[in-house]
Subunit: 358 residues, 2 copies
């Protein structure tokens, strides 16, 4: 730790990322990647790329990709800013709309990166405890307004529980808030279409941002590509002022465009994940490992009335070559977050758990 | 402009990037790209990449690439953090070591992004005017210390003049400074080896960071890849705390490793740029367009005692399909910054200027 670092940086803890093993034998159900690779269209676009195109700077504002995204979402180019994964989108929202020393709102529990980003920026975190069923309390916007929250992040569907809050509820929160509401939709592609969830019309309000990522839905976690949808006033502030110039490299612009272009393939992987999720939840239930209904590509599994604790089960699965995620935070200590894998991976998980819990 | 943006963001001007035309007819001598494409080894690495590898998150800290860079520079992995281009490195240094409301030092004139990044972070800029020959005044560290500067950036070789400050002079500045000194070596690969310039031993001091980029020397501006060398205390603070998690995508890690691995190719392009620089400076001089000796891949050309102003000449070159850069800042208004191109590009520039100035 350097003595030259800002005091808030010296005093904070960094983000703790899930393990990324380099071997190919380990079954990785710990960081919520899509079990399916990106579309063949992405492979084709990659094969057509030559390194010579990398000699010059990329298009500074990723306009080609923004236009494709605008068409997909039925909005304008100026409602979209492309980012290096969802993480850059979160950081940009914080550094653009929250004053250092100011207040940042979040639900508890949720994505563990939020308070880390707030600490880097020296913002105070105002946590709203979720209800027992992981839903937002009615008083949420009031609590944030009383604390002068300048930006709040809500991940929906919720992580790590997988539950979905209705868009109408989010609209009420945003309308009541004095600051900006960022709806982190990292997992939205896996929501059952029968839920008819769609929060994108909320960007007509001047204080709503919606985060999307290619990491989960499009199987491109390794590419680091995400974007924010929002009111043009919010978005152009980021594009013209606070974003790193040339923040999106040429290859990401090309591959992202290819991925977005193959909606049929993406939708098929989402449907397969939903099917596998249903089956996995049922099979885990038969082992006494229950989870609330999930609209994401993971399940938050209760490890209660079992011969082992959640942490010990996490370790034993790891010993058997299967990585899942355990959090030591309150309300999560007796649970495991399990990414939905391919049918073969899920089968091996169930077989291993059957042995371990016997 | 959103009313939700921080006051400093509302009041600042964003960075003004050079034009990036999409056509291939324009001769681009305006943003200091390498005139030569990246190594064939980069092409081969790109051809070997499959999109399936992008399904999972990248190695979070780019350790494979860091190890190659450590070997190249004769330092340890913990002396290196890889960044999304040099721009991310600059932002990270600012947000890690400068308190909002605190002070950031720079020389005037220099890279026009520095004050923009300071404004985003709400830091006050303390400018030190360069001498007539673009060298640092002796009082530089004193001026910054009196203003409680927490971080200062010096680009060396200097942009936009192309002149080089000796490493020994930088060592003295760093030793006298109370804050961190970042030496921005974006153009260092083009320095004549006979100058025997090497500032990397300075990272043994606990307050020195050196910025490098793949954008210029390795012909990879489109990839957005750079890195900081520095004392392990400075570097690990950034890696463990303030960097975006997974900031470097998988493809950049692979292609960067390939580029670093082919030093012979890179050195050959640098030698060719130096040869072309010498010839171009001489030919421009014959047209009465003089420049100070440059150790970079650009020339800062005086447009004085000519039938046109520098700004008008910039416009006329643009009309003829040749982009160069004109800055309206003090001391630069009567100059043009011209990137050294391929021999064919430089030839067309000279032919066009001969016509325009006839």
């Amino acid at each position: 730790m350097s003595k030259y670092a800002r005091p808030n940086v010296q005093n904070m803890q960094g983000y703790s990322w899930g393990e990324q093993p380099l071997d190919t034998e380990t079954i990785k159900l710990n960081t919520n990647e899509n079990p399916y690779p990106p579309s063949p269209a992405v492979d084709a676009a990659l094969a057509n790329l030559g390194a010579a195109a990398l000699r010059v700077y990329p298009q500074p504002t990723a306009d080609g990709l923004r236009d494709k995204l605008a068409k997909l979402h039925g909005c304008a180019r100026n409602n979209i800013v492309v980012t290096n994964g969802g993480d850059e989108a979160l950081r940009l929202a914080l550094t653009t709309f929250v004053n250092p020393g100011g207040h940042f709102g979040m639900a508890e529990p949720s994505y563990s990166l939020y308070p880390v980003l707030a600490a880097i920026h020296d913002a105070q975190v105002v946590r709203v405890e979720l209800e027992a069923d992981w839903q937002l309390p009615e008083s949420c916007a009031d609590i944030w307004n009383r604390a002068s929250v300048e930006l709040a992040c809500l991940v929906n569907p919720h992580a790590p529980s997988g539950t979905l809050t209705d868009a109408e509820d989010l609209r009420r929160v945003a309308a009541a808030m004095n600051g900006v509401l960022l709806i982190d939709e990292a997992y939205v592609n896996f929501v059952d279409p029968q839920r008819a969830y769609d929060a994108t019309p909320l960007i007509e309000q001047d204080n709503v941002l919606i985060l999307r990522t290619f990491s989960k839905g499009y199987g491109l976690a390794g590419l680091r590509l995400g974007y924010l949808l929002g009111h043009a006033d919010l978005i152009t502030t980021i594009i013209d002022k606070t974003r790193d110039s040339y923040n999106i490299d040429h290859i990401s612009q090309v591959l992202g465009t290819a991925a977005i272009g193959d909606q049929a393939y993406a939708r098929e992987t989402w449907a397969q994940v939903r099917d596998a999720r249903r089956l996995l939840a049922a099979q885990l239930g038969q082992l006494g490992l229950f989870s609330v209904p999930s609209e994401t590509n993971f399940l938050l599994v209760d490890v209660i009335e079992q011969p082992v604790t959640a942490e010990r089960l996490f370790q034993r699965l790891k010993g058997a070559g299967i990585l899942v995620r355990h959090f030591s935070a309150p309300r999560l200590q007796d649970k495991l977050r399990v990414t939905v894998g391919t049918p073969a991976e899920n089968h091996r998980l169930i077989a291993t758990l059957t042995d371990l819990l016997a």
